[in-house]
Amino acid sequence: MLTKDSPLVQKIAILKGSDSQLLEISRKGLLSLNLQEMKVIQAYFKKLGREPVDAELETLAQTWSEHCKHKTFGGVIEYEEEGRGSRVYDNLLKSTIMRVTEELDRPWCWSTFRDNAGVIAFDEDWGIAFKVETHNHPSALEPYGGAGTGIGGVIRDILGVGLGAKPVLNTDVFAFAPRSLSPKLIPKGVLPPQRIINGVIAGVRDYGNRMGIPTANGAVYFDEGYVANPLVFCGTVGLIPKDKVEKSVQTGDLVVTLGGRTGRDGIHGATFSSAALEEGITSSVVQIGHAIMEKRTMDVLLQARDRGLYRGLTDCGAGGFSSAVGELGAETGVRVDLEKVPLKYHGLAPWEIWVSESQERMVLAVPPANWLELSELCGSEGVEATIIGQFTNDHQLNLRYEGETVGLLDMEFVHEGMPRVHRKAAWYHPVAEPKSAKRPRFQQRDYGSTLLKLLAHPNIAAKKWVVRQYDHEVQGGSVIKPFAGFDQRGPNDACVFRPRLDSIQGVVVSNGFNPSYGELDPYWMAACAIDEALRNLVAVGGNINHAAILDNFCWGDSQDPRELAALVRACQACYDIAKGFGVPFISGKDSFNNTWRDPNGKLRSIPRSLLISAIGVIKDITQTVTMDTKQPGDWIFLIGETREELGGSHLWKVLDKPPQGTVPHVQVAKARECFELLHQAIGKGFVRACHDLSEGGVAVAAAEMAFGGEFGMDLDIHKALVPHAIPDSALLFSESASRFLVEVPPMARPGFEALLKGYCAALGRVTKKRTLILRNGRTRRILLKQPLERLRAAWETIA
């Protein structure tokens, strides 16, 4: 076996290969293995005294891919910072992001960083699982199929966490180039933004809606830097019984595949997703999802879970069976009979069956005594379930085809044999501190028109044209929807829903994403993303003391010391800020080498992009608030300090000027206390409406609250808390972190002010008149006076 020649397998001669030959083998086979890795593999097979075969190399390539293994994050990074010396990060992920979780050690964190998704407690009996994935490269090539399989994949992550969670919410964040982008800026072979945008939105819509999972949270962000490499983040929340959080595969359990059949789809998807986009990609990497197949699979899976018919479970994602079965059998060993796998059509080589990424498949570890019952259950709903192997106790991965061995590897080598990458990172300060001369210059009459431009900016404007295409009401648990008001009048900060209809407990989900700060300072970008996600969570009534966050990095060239240094800085901020807030990370994902060639042929990295997704448990959903003004005569308070922090702000974008100045900083100790106090205030019923301040600052938030509730406001922005005097433009449009606008009824004012002493300032009142007035109380001048209809019309501009 494996030493004889066989028509089933192809041997690959590597034993005598030189460095350049090894690299050539990797390149030609689309393996994406680097020289160091190829040499480790060569040494392993030298020890065995034979050449590897196709399925073996493919298995290693899949398991060791950046997609499956966090190569960069888990490697050794030598970081150097101009003027501040150097530091070695031995496993960046463990020494920053996972360290927060470890040090905080929250008892309600049931499963973190070791399964398909993180799991936190919902109540004593139920947990909430959350995972966010990216599916960028396939979405660039075939937006509809790529995005659909992206959401399909993350739903399977949730179905495959522990012994299976029921998906209860989807969240989507997209980053695109604007539709208005000049065709001259679109590289050859790249689809125009219009097609990518429409295709991605439709792909996620058709899959998510068919699955019957509400999509009630998300964002769409536009920047030219995403022209060839859009970002498609898809997240799913699941509900899981506490006693189903752990898997326990045992020797003798059957390997069972459930759901869709296997075809040649997506072969090399995992290795491809780590390779930079180039022209000439073959069509096997793009797929069209089949939502109803996944829905049927989910329906029987959850019944089988509740009947206790299996002991282990995972989804088939990147790397197909090679990753899924390899992972389930890591502790025991496994034998797989590949000819038993149900195929879509004939003609697949054993290795192709093994690494195919056909969608809608799950792998189960089933005790033999339960097989008949499982098989009958699946049959009754027309879902295919097939035994394809057995878990062993020999710690080997044994692949067979009609009895003949077509691959044999030690599990330990598969999972632990990968050499670690060593990379260098170097940071030089990019821009000088702001000079007052760089301040935006305003005529007073410009404030109104600037606000209208901000509201119409694609990143701020209403995305009703997207949101309305997604079913955000299905499952009946919706409490706070994407928009406030019957006619979807204003943007809510986060969604709240009841995953169990017989409980008044809720779950809150929010996100933070601000790539425009990343160019100036990735540290504060990451800090602000965390602050924003938690701010949104708190704004609707969430509690940061029962909240967790997820990180999703989409970064450029990880070989570029500067990009890598930016990553290190962002990770360091993740540690500092999350630790400061006392909020643990529970799961995450990274996507590197998001690079593309611009029309001049220059290799470009995408904007540094970190999505922070936050999830929390709300004890009583009646103690939540929306963002729309509710009662004339109520007070409007501004919470938090306003500083002149216009670096990377949307003000510069609408003025069409390059970003400059200081990126917003997070004073985390103060922010944490303030978030806790605001949560208490909401719990005490002091707050009638609350809205977080983000893009466009006070002016935008006030406008949104006003037209959201169809009551005006009359505010003196000079009442705001400011550590240093700042100009009107900064008071109106600065994006300083950790701030909220809060509507407080007159009766509750004393209690509210006493509670948030030092953090709040009353700016003015809600008015019956449908006009927004922002004043400078010192000069007694009106800075801005706009009818709500006009503001709302600007916000409803379709970008």
Binding site: E142, S283, I288, A291
Partner: protein
């Protein structure tokens, strides 16, 4: 009689066609000379031993909405090869490539079996866009590639409406 048959399901005259109209609106900015209307229809390619009355039953009882739609039972139409700069009604047919998941085909097969017709071996689904009118075949080709399909997952066929009529005439 084993064969491959294409059934086109079209809107009845006067019934709203949001897909066709939406596409027409999207194309306005391109200012295509002579383009007055775009009509959308669904295509089903059935392979198997199917008598004409069985095909009619499949269309009437499964594929067509009796209130808003009508159908045309045709055979496979080869793509015309000659270069044409003629103005006229062009038809662009979009099908998933072999090997790419065609989600609806499985349901259609189930639907046909529910009619107690067992002799269907394969179904593929597709889309037809009828452009009234375009200045040349080249315009139709360009629209097919840049707006209607993705060469990674779709096959496309461009024909003039006249060709179809001729082909039917020849076959019948």
């Amino acid at each position: 009689m084993h064969g491959t048959y294409i059934i086109e399901v079209r809107h009845k005259a006067g019934v709203a066609d949001p897909v066709g109209r939406g596409l027409f609106e999207d194309l306005r900015s391109l200012r295509i000379e002579g383009l007055r209307r775009v009509a959308f229809s669904q295509l089903y390619r059935l392979a198997g031993d199917l008598r004409p009355e069985e095909r009619a039953r499949i269309a009437e009882d499964l594929l067509v909405d009796p209130v808003t739609q009508t159908f045309q039972d045709g055979s496979l139409v080869p793509q015309t090869a000659e270069k044409e700069k003629t103005r006229g009604t062009y038809i662009v047919d979009i099908w998933f490539k072999t090997g790419v998941t065609d989600v609806a085909s499985e349901s259609v097969i189930k639907g046909i079996r529910d009619l107690d017709i067992e002799s269907v071996s394969e179904v593929r689904t597709g889309f037809r866009y009828r452009f009234l009118e375009l200045p040349s075949r080249q315009t139709a080709e360009t629209l097919a590639v840049t707006v209607l399909s993705n060469p990674l997952v779709h096959d496309r066929f461009v024909n003039r409406e006249l060709d179809m009529a001729k082909t039917f005439a020849r076959r019948n």
